[in-house]
Symmetry: C2
Subunit: 293 residues, 2 copies
Amino acid sequence: MADRVGFVGLGIMGRGMAANLVRAGTALTVYNRTAERTAPLVELGAVAARTPRAVAQNSDVVIICVSDTADVEQVLFGTDGVADGLAPGGLVIDTSTVSPTATRHWAERLAEGGVAFVDAPLTGGSEGAEQGTLSIMVGGADADVERALPYLQQVGSTITHVGPVGHGQVTKLANQILVVSNMLGVAEALMFARASGLDLAKVITAVEGGAGGSWMLSKRAPQVIDDDWRPGFRVDLQQKDLRLVLEAAGELRVPMLATSLISQLYQPLLRDGRDGDGNHALAETVARLAGQR
Amino acid sequence: MADRVGFVGLGIMGRGMAANLVRAGTALTVYNRTAERTAPLVELGAVAARTPRAVAQNSDVVIICVSDTADVEQVLFGTDGVADGLAPGGLVIDTSTVSPTATRHWAERLAEGGVAFVDAPLTGGSEGAEQGTLSIMVGGADADVERALPYLQQVGSTITHVGPVGHGQVTKLANQILVVSNMLGVAEALMFARASGLDLAKVITAVEGGAGGSWMLSKRAPQVIDDDWRPGFRVDLQQKDLRLVLEAAGELRVPMLATSLISQLYQPLLRDGRDGDGNHALAETVARLAGQR
């Protein structure tokens, strides 16, 4: 018999993923803190539950997609949490981006009740969630990842099993280090070229094919030139992920020179209420330092 | 009548470029400070001259490929320099990576003698120079760039006219900001993942196709994992280019947070005599901070 699947967290990412699961024929029970958000899923054929516990009671596999470490903790182990409802033999798939250390603790705690755990943070934005083209970095035991795979394939197109529980989160955080470092380089290069009076579009064309090339340069530098701050990934979520990087690195006692600097450079944007701008708005802080804003 | 062309500077980049010019049928007069380096070019059919002035006296167009601002200054305006030998109507193409401000001054000074100037710094390494696949960022007046184009096309495959004199240099320096920022991101992400016990090859595979992707991640991160420090671009030349960035930015009074930090992180490599390692050895400084070296 196919697994009954539960889904907790119907935010900007979760709602697209849940819809793709239902459309693929998965029997889905859903929960969201703001209950109205379940309506579009129920219309598609999902069943709404009143608590994460109720989701779990009706499911063999529970997928979680919430914002931060404390939210996953609450969903799993809070009042009426998933851990109280999921029978032994169940599986939790956490697609949120959260602390690797907390992730390992949750997996251990769930294992005591006979429940398996896979961390599967994702990238690809809300478009990726809607279109089912997310990239997913998976940590977990082989058998658990194999069991999770059919559901991950219904929401993502690039799925990489990187190691045991927690390694998915570390990989996601490493990805965030790359994203913001590349963005700082883009911001500093554009600011330098602008201060020198150059045509920035020509600069991008001249260098993007070579050793200075990056996804952020090709996709976000043109947005910067156009003052287009619509988000691929929001500033407030970027800053939250950098906090997770710095927390995890702090536990390991390794200094993060680039990431800590960049985290500071995001602060003025949050102070100015630009939480919902794209993470490429980092270029605005850098431009401000150059007197260009 | 076709231009007679001169070439000054037969180092690791210049010798490949000069050879491609000769092979393309260009009548070439060459000069190098270490005279023996002219021999392979003479064998191909070039004529060796004893001074930059002698090169210029025998040429309509003089291409320069040396290391630093002071070297170009010496070649142009030193004793027996190009400026003393080139007749009015001549053109200088400087492919070195040097100060944008000095570049503009040289162009003005040469213009007084009726000589035109184009700055055309390049990327693509010694392989690119040998194979004629360099990327070239060109600054100069339209007519001068048009005149330079046939020769640039004999040594490079991607040629972008970015603006007036000096703008080629600014674009090259912007490229260097991108290169080292992306490399710092790669170094910090790998160090973080290594400290967390991950399989670094799997991390690269999981993230290189997404928003964290870059040329440095795809080409250099695998070298870092293999402790392969063979140079695509040498540490000492990278540090020289960062000095040019910081000098130019200093003149503009714009702060370069990433580039200044990264320039400091290259210092331990130079102290340890790793001048000839590739610029991806930045990962070694970052790993050292994490106690991984």
